[in-house]
Subunit: 190 residues, 4 copies
Amino acid sequence: MRNKDEKKRDAICRAAIDLIQSQGFEDTSMSKIAREAGVSPATIYVYFENKEDLLNQIYIRVKREMSSAIMEGFDQGITIEEQFRTAWFNFYQYAMENPVDFAFGEQFANSPLVNRVSKDEGEGYYGPLIEMFELGKREGIFKNVPLGVFSAFVFFPVIGLIRNRNDEKLVFGKEMLEQVFQIAWDAVTE
Amino acid sequence: MRNKDEKKRDAICRAAIDLIQSQGFEDTSMSKIAREAGVSPATIYVYFENKEDLLNQIYIRVKREMSSAIMEGFDQGITIEEQFRTAWFNFYQYAMENPVDFAFGEQFANSPLVNRVSKDEGEGYYGPLIEMFELGKREGIFKNVPLGVFSAFVFFPVIGLIRNRNDEKLVFGKEMLEQVFQIAWDAVTE
Amino acid sequence: MRNKDEKKRDAICRAAIDLIQSQGFEDTSMSKIAREAGVSPATIYVYFENKEDLLNQIYIRVKREMSSAIMEGFDQGITIEEQFRTAWFNFYQYAMENPVDFAFGEQFANSPLVNRVSKDEGEGYYGPLIEMFELGKREGIFKNVPLGVFSAFVFFPVIGLIRNRNDEKLVFGKEMLEQVFQIAWDAVTE
Amino acid sequence: MRNKDEKKRDAICRAAIDLIQSQGFEDTSMSKIAREAGVSPATIYVYFENKEDLLNQIYIRVKREMSSAIMEGFDQGITIEEQFRTAWFNFYQYAMENPVDFAFGEQFANSPLVNRVSKDEGEGYYGPLIEMFELGKREGIFKNVPLGVFSAFVFFPVIGLIRNRNDEKLVFGKEMLEQVFQIAWDAVTE
DNA sequence: AATGAATGAGTGTTCATTCAT
DNA sequence: GATGAATGAACACTCATTCAT
């Protein structure tokens, strides 16, 4: 029983994510989600309060998956530089390989349907990353700037890269990518 | 007959921009735009072919305003470093002061309603900026990376900054801002 | 859940037919049909894909009723002349008594909304009639002309009669009607 | 001045007829007519009271052209049979060659927009035809049936022929056509 | 828990017509 | 007389959501 429930909940989320990716935000209706998930429209309302609630839960889910992907290989006793490198390439790879989830998160950031609470909860998974940054600052590795500035120069450029890549058919070889990483590293270190 | 009223065209655009900002892309309908602009829904179709046309025209308009703001004070015979500094602070200031137009451009990037042509036309206004970058590369000032990488580390961080600022109530003093600019400069120069 | 209500489907069809008759094809909108049928406009779309589908289904329905009325008393082993007489008077009576459905079929013939398939399906019910005609030709009773010519002189005059009757307040007594039938019979027999 | 007026009035009518033929009744709007005629929508209202008036005037115009075409070669001192033959073939030819005007007349017959007056005026041009029929009846050539019956068996079959032809790709050679005419003649003569 | 039917409110868009010049 | 601008009302259709089972 419990199993069955969660499967259905998953199916609905998955259907929604797929549709948003393939058809865009505007053309993703509750009925289409229901059809894609193989359930009745009314069934969605058994699992989610309304569309806003569904989207918020999906947002959190995507964020969780994203953050755990980014922080893979983090807990070992590796140096800060190695942690940074790991996180950055993880992020790059995830953004490249999961344009679905990624674009989804992007779309969300600008949607009034995603409320504060969800955003905060979404950000909550990055604990280890934040600790790394704070430690690095104390150790004099990173520049002494607020966290927001840090992420603005480390992760946002990747977002820009991907978007520009889509527009300009930019492709990065291994060396170029290493070079780009170096730029990010140079930017935030003393 | 009455002459086509440029003021009315403006009012419609303005109404659309305001609504997209305050309600989001999805919830901005033609009738709402009409009501906000104080005209009949049918009147919009006197000035614009359809919704897509309206949005594209607005996109181009916003981009044009944005680009001319960014490149203000560009044509004099100033050094590349001064040009860079000018553009960056212009961009920062514009993004701060015009969150409406800015968010608007953001929203657009992900909408299927904005077509290639409009996007290209939107990008077309940045000629001087591109020339500056190319010249700087030849002179050995900037790193030898593609344009897309350049903008990813110069302008996208500002976008991230603004977004983080909105979320975290981050405020930058003059010194901090200078420091952030320095990071951008460090990132792309040899 | 509630089961799809055949009564509701009928009510919608009936409302559409009545409106088309009384207001004409052009002025029969989906909302008017809905109001007339006592349902919400959206409900129509539960039962029919769109307006075209609704009209096609109605067309087929009317054609089916019409054809079965025309061919009533056909299957017994009666002579071709008796079959012809039966069909002709059936047709005349149906056209007289069901001006609504009849005019409906008429209106349809000129509408681009009624597709080939529906027209063909509509024609498909006249099998026995066509057989009668072919047999009669082989037996030398009917003139050797294509089916289209046959129907043009047998059934279309009735349509003309009805239309002229409406315009001129023509009324036929029993004898006159017999005489008209005789004309049709004379026209197509050797 | 007078000349100019009439030219414009003609252009509007012509545009309307063409559009109704090519796009169908439903898709022929006043603005489209105006564009096709090269005038402003408002100008139509200088010449016609409203859409209904425009359509009625067109109806009458088409009917007049049609009737004069049908009765071409009528006034000489020819026999009734020759008159009949002339009229019938004229009608057939006109219907074949002017599907535009013809379909237009057809469409009109079922439209509530065409009022009694216009219909009556439309019928008024057939005087000579009616006289021929009445004379033929008195001379014992034609069967003694009302005018409505006469036209139902003489002209309506042609309408049916054309419609069936469109549906079945029926084509008539010279001989077949002569045969069809003979059927019409047989039908109404003693 | 699960569902298909049902719906009022809304969508983007076009219409016949009038207004102001 | 002639016009392009302007419009309220309507169009076909879809939406997120609730109802009845």
